[in-house]
């Protein structure tokens, strides 16, 4: 392979031009900040013949944020998002998540769309061409087995590590999708299909670490939107071995409402564990009473059932799953007491 394979680079100025460019070459890739894509190109993981720079399309560059609604264009940078005063004020979980992504230079380049669609990661995948070839490749590229779970029968367990997804899942966000068949809107949660179930085949709606987004050919995320809920409190926290230039070991977003001394609403989402960001199901059952040991025990059970951290990172999966629960518990307590 070449250090950087040849590719064409185009700079569309409108959404229509962008869609046309996508349709013109099915193997094309969108280029936001390139902080993830270019690394993967250099490692020979992907070799798109056409890169489409999305940063010149004005329709994708706006942040609209007030007390009622939030709308973020896909090419807004993570730095812009983290520093936006109304996002910080009304949607702290989003600003906090954005501010903790990688390092400052990555945030200056990296985009919201790129982070939401961040490729899943694995220690057997994010390696050089030479390394992967010496290891017989893997399911996520051209190989036939998953080195994380060699008996996985065709299921890839590469881990989703974007920080913005859990924050926006906790806000019940929707995404706008653009594509050749026209725009459509759907819940952000439906974008992520990395269920990686070993007991069922990978399909268009239930994928794994390799097929982890539900986008159709030529489609891309153009914006993400959320409605605010009165009195909603939210926050994001994560564990990382060092505090910059690092993917999350595990990240947790919590949003909750308190009604008197009762927990009225609870939403929790995780990253860095499964092949998809996981919005924890079943938290409604924990609401209605005080924030006590019963709630935390229930939380632990939900985390145990739904958070599946495999040996996809250098840090053991067991640890990632356990501290995911710890962070969630702490954020709940902090927000409830705030």
């Amino acid at each position: 392979m070449d250090a950087l394979p040849e590719f064409a680079l185009v700079h569309p100025r409108t959404l229509d031009e962008l869609i046309a460019a996508c349709v013109s070459n099915p193997a094309s890739r969108l280029l936001g900040g390139g902080t993830d894509l270019v690394v993967n190109i250099r490692r020979g993981i992907v070799a798109p013949p056409l890169l489409i720079d999305v940063n010149g399309v004005d329709e994708l560059r706006a942040i609209k944020a007030d007390a009622c609604t939030l709308e973020i264009g896909a090419s807004v940078t993570l730095t812009e998002l983290a520093a936006h005063p109304d996002v910080i004020r009304h949607y702290p979980v989003v600003a906090q998540a954005a501010a903790q992504i990688a390092g400052p230079t990555h945030r200056n380049m990296g985009t919201v769309g790129g982070n939401l669609c961040l490729d899943t990661r694995c220690i057997f995948y994010n390696q050089s061409e030479w390394w992967r070839s010496a290891n017989d490749h893997c399911l996520k590229t051209t190989g036939t087995i998953c080195h994380v779970a060699p008996k996985s029968r065709g299921v890839c367990f590469a881990t989703f590590s974007g920080d913005l997804a859990p924050a926006l899942l906790a806000l019940d966000a929707d995404i706008d999708i653009a594509g050749p068949a026209g725009p459509r809107t759907m819940p952000l949660a439906d974008l992520y299909i990395g269920y990686a179930r070993q007991d069922e085949p990978v399909t268009d709606t239930r994928g794994d670490g390799k097929y982890f987004l539900s986008l159709r050919p030529g489609e891309f995320v153009s914006a993400v939107r959320a409605k605010n809920t009165a009195d909603l409190r939210s926050a994001y926290d994560k564990i990382r071995i060092r505090h910059s230039i690092e993917y999350p070991v595990t990240g947790v977003a919590v949003a909750l409402r308190r009604d008197g001394d009762k927990l009225a609403d609870l939403r929790i989402a995780f990253t860095g564990t499964n092949p998809r960001p996981v919005r924890l199901a079943g938290t409604e059952a924990l609401c209605g009473g005080k924030l006590d040991e019963r709630v935390f025990k229930g939380l632990d059970a939900l985390v145990r059932d739904q958070i599946m951290a495999m040996k996809t990172t250098f840090t053991p999966g067991h640890y990632r799953r356990r501290v995911a629960g710890v962070l969630a518990r702490r954020l709940m307590q902090q927000l409830f007491d705030a």
């Binding site: 390394w131 564990i239 071995i241 250098f314 840090t315 640890y319 501290v323 710890v326």
Partner: protein, 338 residues
């Protein structure tokens, strides 16, 4: 949230191995009075070029502005063993002093010729060479003109060889690596917080006292000692090699986690000066002595905080968590009477 703060101190001596190979420095003096120091010692940010310029300026009594140092280009400079093992200030510094003394002897001889005096009567004041306090003497440039009269451009050589030492009955001059002769000492105090629920260790502050012999440049000594602490932090807390079927898993700057400035605690550097009889102007080293002390100081501090002893490095959060869990299980077993 449970945090425990603790303090621990440790003192270490830097490893040292005298070496038979020596350093060579050349100095070129040209008609315009320009002095160029030629050395193979690469300045890798530690400030060795500054130290060489300072050493030559000190011997010749000249302002630093008169000295230019050229390093690294092996077509021009004499061979050097390299910037490692805390050897450059000690060995190359001594060679630079030797070269400067050789140049000074030529200049004094030239001044003596011109002033019709004996070399022993010549007083070198840097910019002025004179034969006794009543003599109006010669400027540096006049001396240079006289010195170059018959030969043109002058190049002198300076060398340094380590001192043979008795070691186990044999004359010992170190191994082939040409390690430092600067036997420095370092004491370090590390204050940590240990999060007992996540295993995250935070270094709150580090105090270092480093005996570098005479501090030739206090600014670079302080910078070097801070760098040693960061290097020690990497070894102790985050940098790790791991292999899968003989393939290194962490062979990149993302997964091999060198600490960033975000991970740096406040570091208080205390310079303890002493006089090394063989060191350049009494200096020893400030390259690595304080690296070694960080590791035991950190693990002692963690032991003070938690009672846990770590025999595996780095002390990553998952390792701390695993040991905390193991202890909790053992305590639980005892409580249950089993």
């Amino acid at each position: 949230m449970k945090y425990i703060a603790a303090v621990s101190a440790i003192a270490t001596a830097a490893p040292a191995a005298p070496d038979p190979t020596h350093a060579t420095v050349k100095i070129k003096l040209d008609f315009d009075g320009s002095i160029v120091v030629l050395s193979g010692a690469a300045d890798i940010g530690q400030g060795s070029t500054t130290i060489l310029a300072q050493s030559v300026a000190e011997v010749l009594g000249l302002d630093l502005a008169r000295i230019r140092v050229v390093t690294g280009d092996s077509e021009v400079v004499p061979k050097d063993n390299g910037s490692y093992s805390s050897r450059v200030t000690f060995m190359v510094g001594n060679a630079a002093i030797d070269a400067a003394n050789n140049l000074k002897a030529l200049l004094i001889a030239a001044a003596a010729r011109k002033l019709e005096a004996k070399p022993g009567e010549i007083e070198c004041l840097g910019e002025l060479y004179r034969a006794g306090a009543q003599d109006k003497g010669l400027t540096f440039n006049e001396v240079v003109t006289e010195a170059l009269k018959d030969t043109g451009t002058i190049t002198v050589t300076g060398n340094y060889s380590t001192i043979p030492q008795s070691h186990g009955g044999k004359k010992y001059r170190g191994s082939a690596i040409g390690g430092t002769m600067g036997y420095s000492y370092s004491a370090q105090v590390v204050e940590v917080s240990v999060d007992e629920e996540t295993g995250v260790v935070t270094v709150d502050k580090v105090w270092v006292a480093h005996d570098c012999g005479r501090a030739l440049n206090r600014l670079t000594v302080e910078g070097q000692v801070q760098g040693s602490v960061w290097m020690g932090m990497g070894q102790a807390m985050s940098e790790e090699t791991g292999f899968h079927n003989g393939l290194m898993l962490t062979a990149n700057m993302l997964d091999y986690r060198v600490p960033t400035i975000q991970d740096s605690p406040p570091i208080e550097v205390g310079i303890v000066e002493s006089m090394d009889p063989h060191g350049p102007f009494g200096a020893k080293e400030a390259g690595e002595g304080s690296l070694a002390a960080f590791l035991p100081a950190l693990t002692n501090a963690i032991a003070d905080a938690t009672g846990l002893r770590f025999n595996d490095l780095p002390v990553t959060p998952d390792r701390v968590f695993a040991l905390l869990e193991k202890r909790a299980r053992e305590v639980g077993c005892k409580r249950n009477g089993s």
